[in-house]
Symmetry: D2
């Protein structure tokens, strides 16, 4: 249901105008005339009132505010689907009782290094291999990624270790290659509202890991998930990776309360990336534990055999032995909240 | 020059390691050993130290911090070019003494409405016509834009009124069409870090209007401008349109201090979009005046003949008579700061 | 009018419970039962529903949300008083057509320096002398202010120049001294929600300059003004001084859109402090002009004869010749918007 | 060690000027003259350079930036004290292996209700009773707290249950009463930079629970702790309660990464208040678990026998049975990270 508030200077004509538009859309109204304001309650399927029509009402004479009571997303909402969505990739379930860990380097640099990291993380208990073939770099003068060659290295690593692959798509034109080589398509924070990209990925048959935008509200995030799902791809998982705030002690502010909030609002699995969230190696393990305790369904961790040589984000990458230690420490935390690693 | 700070637990070995890497890149060092910290001053062309190498240093044992003294962007900086950049489009100069106003609807809906708006804004003194053929919509269920058809309507309006056209690009695959029909290519806030898109647009011969990201720092903004310029297209203008903050009384928080800050840091022209900045019709005029007083080179204003019928953003669009009134009020403000409208 | 939204799982009992509480407060209800939600419109004087009762409703079973339509502040609102409030101090009016400029050092250091600055700013056209006798310092190891002695210096400067004095109160126990020596009592950003302090100052007979909190919403700001006014002191002026955001290029982000927003919501005068807003000398003049163009009623500027020797905030203080130049440049801007300096 | 950066236009005279001031303070310099910048490394006890002198340097001709390498706080820093601080109150240790839970209503309303809540939380395993006698209310028209009477009720509840008491101080003039009746003095978020209050509390002999300001950086937070400690009171514990961001789905954004960050920077115990952090009852338990997993030393939880009747914050208060359930669920999480509840 919607509510349209008219201010004290609104005329009878103004009210009639709004009512007429609403009735023209097959909706019914309930008018409450107060001394300070007039409230028009809108009854019926107000999902028919689109975003632009809502804006049009706001622009109408006498209207002070339009309040949406219902959520703007449907397919992603728990009201649409009560049970948790479970996404199965190569036999591993994301969104079930077990918490898979997706680990690997930020960027795929070369075949050998990637292979070494893949073997290490597998030995430590990771279920997925992550790595970027196409890198989003803030500076045009830095490493841009290996492209399709990098995808092949990831596929090769999967072949040898059995680890399914998560990799980021930067451009709609790369979809074909990514679908060919990868198992999960990652949409990065900066592309969370790249609507064209969302639509393309919505037509693909692979699961999508949708990272939250740097300053995206949970509502906008779910609307982006809705974008993808509206095209037919319902295998969407949401990944909290920190939001932008005034605090500079951490790279971003990891918003773990997003985990239980999402669990209420949506049936989609919730992943947490503490590596990008905090940006500093020593903070990754405590936040990974906190993420599991908060209810996360999976973790996305950056690991590199030699962080100092990493072509990007070396500061937050864990060395294999740190990763191993962390995985051991995560086990009891998962069990403490009724899950398994 | 760069500075690398090592903490009190750093060993002689750690220091040697860092110095060796720096000298290996042809740089010289200046070591200041304090009681609490060791500071390594790096002398030479530190622009050679890329972002990933910087990250690698941060990851090195003993290193507490790496401080960049020099700016990461070059082509966009005033140190590269002392004089203001002036971008000429159809005889109109952006970045000179006169302040052009770019006005029009948020989205191009149909030929007739667009024509009507174009004629009105021209009559009021606007120098450019703006309008989106491809719309970035938060919801997949709303008007997505007319696409190439919308571009043709814009071109038609230009033919009749003489007003050059500013329109937004959403996807690299639309570049050809946009270059064909439009005069200035706009990159929206949500695409400010869509690096692939920036690269494509950097290869085009048309001027680019780069909107600031919702939560982008001025430094990130200039790095995005650098992206475009690094490909050869130096005709970049920056557009402040409000940033995301905790305040909800306005749609965004229009950061007008960005205008004088940019004027110090870069030679690129600075445009201000008060419409998206504040999101409410009544606040547009005061902020447009403030923008001119702060030193803006151009304004981007939303105007619609019938905001209530606008398919998007009706709440912030000015009606032609409001726009006319505002243009009259802007004139003396421009003159008060030594400019002309 | 208020609106209480009950979710789809709310029972008849839940609805009855809420209705009973409302009717118990002498309010009438209007129930709109939709398929997804039940909306209870509350009619009557809902200002009787206090903040805690509102919270209680939110906590009631079945309640999804409580929406306030009316503003929580009264005395400060334009609905209470249509005409602009004009505050008169020593013959100078704040909130009228003329825009007074309040200038001076951040802190009062010694009698001689203060006298020199007072004479300079007066010569340049300032109407008020500002200066802190009690300094809010982030570090306990720095200059804490001269206290009452500093107040005497300010009074002495007023005696010699005729400039009324604006100074900050840090602690309720200093009120007596401040009321004795100063003309306008300033409440700093960090004390905007120091409710005890607001109550004390609300009992005083001197005008109050209420700075916006670092992260205070406009609504919270007006509620703080309401605090002061509720005690009887209606001579309150609001001062925008920048809010905290992610941007680090400026000390704070000066939110000039707060000026026209406040002009709509309240009758109280609106002052702007560009010095603390931007934190850098070269940015003060452009933002002072922008503030006037946006509709500010007065300016608060930091000036020091020797910023390098200033005990605080030297980086943003203007030297007298800069201040003089700025005052000359402000004059035409004021006239361009129908005001006078 | 400090670093002063002079820009490319700085003259020999400018450099000599800065060096002379530094040497005048008994400091030594190390000058690195680069092509783009001149870096002056400052060697010696730069803690002698106060905040205002630092500002003075920034204001000096030719100076582009002043970078502090060392932290501005000392007593609070781990460099000052390597071992964790343990604060003992009534036999209970905060900062040790056991994690005490402080629970109770937001405000003390009456003797009976408080007693009932105290008995309930004690039965569930809480170690401290919290409750506000003086309430910080955003509106002047709402419940302001019982004052000293409320303190007596808290003392009475302690007498009956043995639970030590945590209560908030709003005004320096209430210190005597609070010290008389309470065990831990709480400084609320809005008073984190009420420096006068911090100084007063620094002279008291009771432990202080210092809440993080709504938008305070971790550095500012530790400087406020330093304020208190500089007066002699070293029994300070820091309480994370959420920071202000753009997200509205939660009341604040609980910044759990502050926990491991603080553990690196300071020896002071770290408490987490998930109740104010998230603002919604259902989100408290997951975030309490996450807080423990992240390394928190104690929890501060709002509990009320009848949240609907609570005079404030009813929406986030847990009912006793929820609190009991949560306490049971916290136990294994604490053990999973090597602690005990």
């Amino acid at each position: 249901m919607d509510i349209i508030v008219l201010n004290r200077d609104a005329t009878e004509e103004d009210i009639r105008h709004v009512v007429k538009k609403l009735e023209g859309k097959g909706l019914r109204v309930h008018i409450s005339a107060g001394t300070e304001r007039t409230i028009i309650g809108v009854i019926g399927d107000t999902s028919k009132v689109t975003e632009e029509e809502e804006d049009a009402f706001r622009a109408a004479p006498g209207v002070e505010n339009v309040l949406r009571i219902l959520k703007p997303y449907k397919l992603a909402s728990r009201e649409f689907k009560k049970e948790n969505t479970e996404i199965s990739v190569g036999g591993i379930v994301i969104g079930g009782r077990k918490i898979p860990v997706m680990a690997g380097p930020c960027a795929v640099e070369n075949k050998t290094v990637l292979m070494a990291i893949a073997e290490k993380v597998k030995a430590c208990g990771a279920s997925f291999l992550r790595g970027g073939a196409y890198k989003p770099r803030t500076s045009p003068y830095t490493f841009q990624g290996l492209g399709e060659e990098g995808l092949k290295y990831l596929a090769h690593a999967r072949e040898k270790t059995g680890l399914p692959v998560v990799t980021e798509i930067m451009d709609p034109r790369d979809l074909e290659a990514i679908v060919k080589y990868a198992d999960i398509i990652q949409i990065g924070a900066r592309n969370m509202q790249n609507f064209r990209l969302l639509l393309e990925v919505g037509s693909a048959q692979k699961p999508v890991l949708l990272k939250r935008g740097l300053s995206s509200t949970i509502k906008e995030w779910l609307m982006s998930a809705e974008y993808i799902m509206s095209r037919g791809n319902h295998q969407v998982m949401l990944c909290e990776r920190g939001i932008r705030t005034f605090e500079t002690a951490t790279r971003n502010t990891l918003d773990l309360s997003a985990v239980p909030v999402l669990k209420q609002l949506t049936h989609l699995p919730v992943v947490v990336d503490p590596s990008h969230g905090v940006g500093k190696r020593d903070l990754v393990a405590p936040m990974a534990k906190a993420a599991i305790a908060a209810g996360a369904d999976a973790l996305l961790i950056e690991v590199h055999t030699n962080p100092e040589e990493a072509v990007s984000d070396g500061e937050q990458s864990l060395k294999p032995d740190h990763f191993e230690k962390m995985m051991k420490e995560l086990k009891p935390v998962a069990e403490a909240v009724g899950r398994k690693l």
